[in-house]
Symmetry: C2
Amino acid sequence: MTTIPHATTLYGPVGEDLILVEDLIESTKRVELPLLNRMLDHALAAKGKRLRPALVLLSGTFGDYNLNRLVPLGACIELLHTASLIHDDVVDGSVSRRGRPTANAIFDNALTVLLGDYVFANAAEMVTRTGSLEVTRLFAMTLMKMTSGELDQDAAAWDIGKDIQNYLRRIGGKTAALFTTATEGGAVLAGCSEAEVDALRSYGYAIGMAFQIVDDILDYTGDEALMGKPLGSDLREGNVTLPALFHLERYPKDNPVNRYFRARRLREERLQEALAAIRESGVIESSLDMAKEYVRRAEDAVRILPDSDGKDTLMTIGRYVLDRDV
Amino acid sequence: MTTIPHATTLYGPVGEDLILVEDLIESTKRVELPLLNRMLDHALAAKGKRLRPALVLLSGTFGDYNLNRLVPLGACIELLHTASLIHDDVVDGSVSRRGRPTANAIFDNALTVLLGDYVFANAAEMVTRTGSLEVTRLFAMTLMKMTSGELDQDAAAWDIGKDIQNYLRRIGGKTAALFTTATEGGAVLAGCSEAEVDALRSYGYAIGMAFQIVDDILDYTGDEALMGKPLGSDLREGNVTLPALFHLERYPKDNPVNRYFRARRLREERLQEALAAIRESGVIESSLDMAKEYVRRAEDAVRILPDSDGKDTLMTIGRYVLDRDV
């Protein structure tokens, strides 16, 4: 039987229904071509937290909770997320994720590009099963935002001249767009009122922003074993996230991040110095404060919704996003 | 002003309306991110034959010729085609196409993967503008078939044990699926009868098969200057297409293709021997015969449609697909 970590504890009223999303995702593995079959098996084996599909279903609880429409959107969002990770790992040349080798580490880059395309196609097919052209359109726009966000990040790599505004725009596209589509899409499918759709859209966006900021913090402070990838990956790849941005802002003179970026030799030593400086300087706390502020905005947004198990769960998820260690 | 090669001569009644498709494709270039803007400019600068959008519009002439719905599908199909070429060039490591450097040759592979994703997203957005969930679903299924076809081809590379049946399946996915969606989608949007949709679907499939077979022949016999890429690329990349398959079938003993595939040294010499053998052995004619047979099937399929300029143009396109030299 398929199980999902914390499904019943964290995701409250929709925890058990997530199994249906899981089954639908599993069904996409059944293909004729043996090579594709093997690749899909690998790509879909790493079960994540399923936070995004949970948000789809939870948003659906505020209207007509029709699983025939909500479950395909949940599967679509998770597949879209998976496809984008597959391509990101090719783009970044990452060889491990969640403690497992990436697809590009096992197969080659070329095949992995096509695998990602196939999973994108699957996501596109899933979203049409919702029967909603409006939500299908949302899906397409989200894919655009996610890809622009990734390109924006690549363009900003090794550039310490970008500001926090630019960072927020990048993670808005790269991460928050998909969270927004999860909650907005779920609400639209459930036929929620415009005010409810707005509330859930704002919640999804703010939670997505907090989620990514915490992700970026964990790259400095996390537990390497739990994360399943080396810490400090962002700085190593020239990706200047919120903690580094705060640090550069606060210590403009002879900054260790700056020194690392300019270093032509002893790069690993300079990297470790920069990581240590960031960890010890209080900018981690400032970054966490910003994530907390986003969670507060998320909570505020959904306050207009009627009290329910679903609403309580949205609040719980806000705290979880801040407290998670992986 | 935007112009399209042979638009008015080859595409008859829809030639002028193709400008609208062109304008819609152009509109996707207007993005904020300067890097993405540059990449899109490059990727969309090479105007192809626009055969696929022409087939969308032509199919639409057999019903309610509503350009508000047909033009977005035409743009969608061309963008999908472009996105798949962008990824194929990354996958194959190709550095030139149509006489111009590929995106991956100018930008890097990583950025080019994201560029392809962005163009896919644009195609997905365009198809929702048709207002038809049925056609949007067709789009998603097509993307799946195209990607499987490409993966199938990659899996079959350097393998001379595959038969013609396998080749036809591969090009069915890789190429004919998109032609099928062009004609079927156009017919569905125009509200054609089921028999008409069937006829146009069969036409699209058969024309797509003929188109790819001729493409594979041109890789042996074409004019390098016109093609804008070196001849013999398929065999060089281990891609065994119809002419090579016929040759292997007819000359099972000490076959030059076989020798080239097994060669550990003098590979370029062995490649040239294989290319010459294929060009001189009559298998090019046999391959062309198969393409002609597909065009005959395409013509047969649309015979049931009422006589019109549109129908005449479909017949003209059949001849063009066989006679084209690029």
